[in-house]
């Protein structure tokens, strides 16, 4: 088991380095001169050129990338153009807010999605099942930022029940979490349902029934564990969607997280901030996937025994 974890951790490193390479390469092509941005549009030519030399902007791409990588590994992503604070600190300080939001969304999604998916599957063709499927379909079809706006419209503007912005206590988490979590809840519901339906059709369920096992136990003990295995993987992948979707939700709800920081930076063309944010989120995503893989190995004895 430990071998498995260590192996996966080691595989993580080249992936992350690869991510930095890709994202850096992309951002490298951003038009606009960082030196100009810092000194201002009207700065004299020689000053700009001098700053460019200092910042190493005239070096070939590979050199610049390696320099970037070296610094990144030390946690140095440069300084923000405007605030002059280290970019890394800016991103990292916003992270807890994003994590709070994403986790809330995920918990909501799982808490709703799995039970409903199970019930739907065991009552296939019933009215409940049909309603669930329709709602799940709607959930997947809604842009989450639109849902956020509609929720704000209803609960904040018209009903005045919930705050519409900022991270100011539990009440302010509700609407954003629902916004972010609905799409994922819908996906988890569908996934759980189809996985359960698939499992219930299996021969070993028939064996359990032929043994005289009560239906309840057949579902909860025999079917569930098998059905949840693929769902766990999907949950991990959905976390990536949550991290990405947080960008939009944080904008709608003025939530002080990494996503909102990114959007501001984009507007002002602060590439280091965008760069750092994307890499940071990717690293978090990779770690989450790693945890999911480990959990998966725990659940499925076929994987567990490979690494005994």
């Amino acid at each position: 088991m430990h071998k498995y974890i260590i192996r996966r951790l080691l595989m993580l490193i080249p992936v992350i380095i690869g991510v930095t390479f890709i994202v850096y390469s992309i951002m490298f092509f951003t038009p606009g001169d960082p030196a100009l941005i810092i000194l201002g549009e009207n700065a004299p030519e020689e000053q700009v050129e001098k700053l460019r030399e200092e910042m190493g902007l005239n070096d070939p791409f590979i050199i610049q990338y390696l320099r970037f990588l070296k610094n990144a590994l030390k946690g140095d992503f440069g300084r923000s153009y405007s605030t002059r604070k280290p970019v890394f600190n800016e991103v990292f300080s916003r992270f807890p807010a994003t994590l709070k939001l994403s986790t809330a969304g995920l918990l909501l999604a799982v808490a709703i999605g799995i039970p409903i998916g199970i019930i739907s599957a065991t009552r296939q063709y019933s009215l409940l099942d049909s309603i669930t499927m329709v709602l799940a379909l709607l959930g997947v079809s809604m842009p989450n930022f639109w849902l956020g706006l509609m929720l704000i419209l209803l609960f904040s503007v018209r009903l005045g029940l919930l705050p519409s912005g900022g991270d100011v206590g539990f009440a302010s988490l509700i609407l954003p979490a629902i916004t972010l979590g609905t799409g994922v809840a819908a996906i988890i519901t569908r996934m759980t349902r189809s996985s359960m339906l698939e499992v219930i059709r299996q021969d070993y369920i028939r064996t359990a029934r032929a043994k005289g096992v009560a239906e309840r136990r057949v579902i909860n003990k025999h079917a569930l564990k098998n059905a949840l295995i693929p769902v766990v993987t999907v949950i991990g992948l959905q976390f990536g969607y949550l991290l990405g979707g947080a960008v939009l939700t944080e904008t709608v709800f003025s939530w002080p997280g990494v996503g909102r920081l990114m959007v501001e930076a984009i507007k002002q063309k602060y590439t280091p901030v965008v760069l750092a944010s994307v890499i940071f989120m990717s690293v978090v995503f990779s770690i989450v996937n790693l945890l999911v893989d480990i959990l998966y190995a725990f659940l499925d004895p076929r994987i567990k025994s490979q690494y005994r």
Partner: protein, 301 residues
């Protein structure tokens, strides 16, 4: 969907063609039986027609772009079916033209992703070994970045215009299709009829085009349909944060972002474009799910 190989090439081709025709016919028949999928299909056809004939329905310059401040923020009425926005522009017209953009971006982005991703996946699956490893490791790296963030990065770097939007969303979708095609190739590659085809001297190219691609077609079609939906959502999202098509071009996402400030007094600016998105995505999902069921070879009760 598989084809069989015999030594009589002519009869083989004819029976193959006959089989293929009836296979697609069978798929269509199954799709037709699925009422939800047909609803999705009809909605999509309507949307496509609206997009194609957008200019006939509501002239671009006149109605969608020209500002008419006297008429601003009106609710739905006889002249403006869905009301006007903060610049007095007719929302219905803007939604129609926005639909055109969304569908275009969706289709082109998916096209790019399928072409590049599919090719990579096919090469990886077909040649295996180091090539496979290399390509799939690269795909894994791309997949470590949440796709919206990747699209954001690309558009930020290249600038916000229609083409870059398509490119960004397309590129961020590549790994998915690479995986799908690779998986299809792997299932077919080991089957015996491939060996048989080689034994009668078929070239690699012929094997790929005649045997492997038809096999990969089904999952790609399903994923592609759903992929257009995701692309449209991503487009709206990117526009919402200001990375979409430049104003004043109407795009559903940017319309939503515009409407934010007027949520209190003129909520229709936000509600209607959103509904347009929901309906489109819904239709695509229904169609995609229906196609998945219709193309599923296991559904032989």
């Amino acid at each position: 969907m598989s084809s069989s190989v015999t030594t009589e090439k002519d009869t083989n081709l004819k029976s193959q063609a006959g089989k293929k025709r009836s296979q697609w016919g069978e798929v269509w028949r199954r799709l037709k039986k699925n009422h939800m999928a047909m609803i999705g299909l009809i909605i999509m056809i309507i949307l496509i027609l609206l997009a194609v004939f957008a200019n006939q329905i509501a002239d671009y310059e006149e109605v969608a772009i020209k500002q008419n401040t006297a008429n601003r923020l009106q609710g739905p009425s006889r002249e403006n079916w869905l009301g006007t926005d903060n610049f007095g522009r007719d929302i219905f017209a803007r939604i129609i033209h926005g639909g055109r953009i969304s569908l275009m971006v969706g289709v082109v982005a998916v096209g790019i992703a399928v072409l590049i991703g599919g090719t990579l996946g096919a090469i990886a699956g077909f040649y295996g070994g180091r090539v496979d490893n290399l390509i799939m490791r690269a795909m894994d790296i791309f997949l470590a970045i949440p796709s919206i963030l990747l699209a954001i990065a690309i558009v930020t770097a290249l600038g916000a215009n229609l083409f870059n939007l398509m490119l960004a969303i397309g590129i961020s979708s590549i790994p998915g299709y690479a995986r799908i095609v690779r998986a299809s190739v792997l299932t077919v590659k080991d089957q015996e009829f491939i060996e048989a085809a080689r034994a009668i001297g078929a070239s690699d190219f012929r094997i790929i085009t005649k045997h492997i691609i038809p096999n990969a077609l089904a999952p790609v079609i399903v994923q592609g349909t759903l992929g257009v939906a995701t692309a449209i959502l991503s487009t709206a999202g990117l526009s919402f944060i200001g990375l979409g098509v430049p104003k004043p071009r109407p795009e559903w996402g940017s319309m939503l972002s515009d409407g934010r400030t007027y949520l209190w007094e003129a909520s229709h600016i936000t509600t209607f474009p959103g509904l347009a998105i929901v309906i489109t995505i819904l239709a695509l999902n229904l169609l995609g799910d229906g196609l998945r069921d219709a193309l599923d070879p296991r559904l032989k009760q």
